[in-house]
C-alpha cells in the first residue's frame, strides 16, 4: 500500500527524525502529537521508523569482534604479549 500525503502530513513527516530524537521545540512536538492522534498513516510511519532504528541497534549489539580477528590484530600490532589479557564477555 502506498500513501499520498496531505500537506499537513508532509510537514509532520519531514520532521519525524528530529521528533524521534527529541530535537523539536515543545510547541511543535505538541502539534505533531495532536496530528498523530488523528492520523493512522502517520502513526504507522512513526512506529515503523522507531522499529527500524531499534532493529539496527539490536543487530549492532549482537555484532562482536571474533576472537581470531582480535588475535590477528594483536599480532599485526606486535602486541602478542598482551593478547591473553582478559577479554570482554560475548566475544566469539
Amino acid at each position: 500500500m502506498t500513501h499520498q500525503h496531505s500537506s499537513n502530513c508532509k510537514n509532520i513527516l519531514q520532521n519525524l527524525s528530529a521528533y524521534i530524537d527529541g530535537d523539536l521545540d515543545q510547541a511543535f512536538c505538541k502539534d505533531i502529537e495532536a496530528h498523530l492522534a488523528s492520523c493512522t498513516n502517520c502513526q504507522i510511519v512513526v512506529n515503523t521508523l522507531k522499529k527500524t532504528i531499534h532493529l539496527y541497534q539490536s543487530d549492532g549489539r549482537d555484532t562482536h569482534l571474533p576472537t581470531e580477528v582480535r588475535h590477528r590484530l594483536f599480532s599485526r600490532l606486535e602486541l602478542d604479549d598482551y593478547v591473553t589479557r582478559d577479554q570482554k564477555s560475548g566475544q566469539d
Binding site: 500500500m1 522499529k51 569482534l65 580477528v69 582480535r70 590477528r72 590484530l73 570482554k88
Partner: protein, 201 residues
Amino acid sequence: MTIENSEKPVDLKALKRKDKAAFAKLVDQNSEHIYRLGLKMLGNPQDAEDVLQETFIKVFNNIDGFEGRSKLSTWLYRIAVNEALMLLRKRKAGITQIDEGLELENGDILPRQIIDWCCLPEKELMSSESRQYIQEAVQTLSDANRAAFLLRDVEGLSTRETAAVLDISESAVKVRLMRARLQLREELTHFFANRIVRESL
C-alpha cells in the same frame, strides 16, 4: 554502546610514550566498535578486518600528533571512517553513486509505503533471514548517509560527536540521518510487508 562509556580512559601520556600495555588496553576498549563500524560500512568481514588493522596502525603511528582537542574515541572513529571510505572509493572506482529515489525535486523526502509491520513477532523480525536483509539494506544507503546513520543510531554517538567524526555541521548530520532512516524504513517495510502477506496465506 559508545566507546569509553564504562571503562577507565587510557592514559594518553602512556600512549605517547608508546607504552605497549596502554596501547593494548586502547585496542581492547575500542576494537569491537571499530570492527562493527567497518563491517556495517563495508558489508564484509575481510574489509572490516582491514579497516580495523589499518585504523590502529595509524593510531599507533600518529599518536604523537593527537593534541586532545577532540575525544580520543572521536579521533579513532574518524580514522576508521576515512579508512572505510577509502576502501569504498577503490571498490567503486568509476562508478557514480546516486542516492536512492525517496527524494522529491525540492529535496524533501517522504515515506511511501504505509504498512504496519511492527505487529510481527520479534522472532520473525530478528530471524536469520530478516537479519541478513537488515544488514544488506544498510548497504543500499549512500556512503555519506550510511556513515551518519551507523555513528548515530548504531554506535550511539551524539549529533555533535558524529559531526566531529565526519567533519560536517550538526545540521548536515541531521539531514543525512533523516534520509538514511527513512530509506531504511522503506526497505524494511518492503521486506516485512511480504512476510505479513506470507503469514496471511
